[in-house]
Subunit: 85 residues, 2 copies
């Protein structure tokens, strides 16, 4: 499965979330990561996020897709996805 | 088509981008919007973003999907998608 993770996490916790996601996914921009994952990896990522965020304050949305989606990039491409293909 | 728009736009321009996207899409979180659009709307959104951002500094990624993707929300749901369905 292919996932896109977007997060809105308080400044005290955001670096740990970013560092964790960087170990598993491709950083796209700002607070957006994406990547192909197995179901086991997906569960591990969810569990890891769950440990790092404050569920009363922070918000994380994980979009679950079948495969890497088409995209259009406008302006600067911060971290071209082609680099990982 | 269903699009997810994520942006990383300098503070001088971000409010105009947000205001523009709010007219066309559903605000999800932080700098993320999404929604079902026609091809004509998609082109209008792209053109509008192109006018508002600085292509040398800002970055916008538009994911193009066939339909609304599955999602998992962790923590606070800032703006529940169910509200617009």
């Amino acid at each position: 499965m292919y996932i896109i993770v977007v997060y809105d996490v308080s400044v005290e916790r955001v670096n740990r979330v970013k560092k964790f996601l960087r170990q598993h996914l491709h950083w796209v921009q700002n607070s957006v990561f994406e990547g192909e994952v197995t179901l086991a990896e997906f569960e591990r990522i969810k569990a890891g996020i769950g440990e790092l965020i404050d569920g009363d304050e922070d918000s994380v949305v994980i979009y679950k897709l079948r495969s890497m989606p088409k995209r259009e990039v406008m302006g600067v491409e911060k971290n071209p996805i082609e680099d990982i293909i």
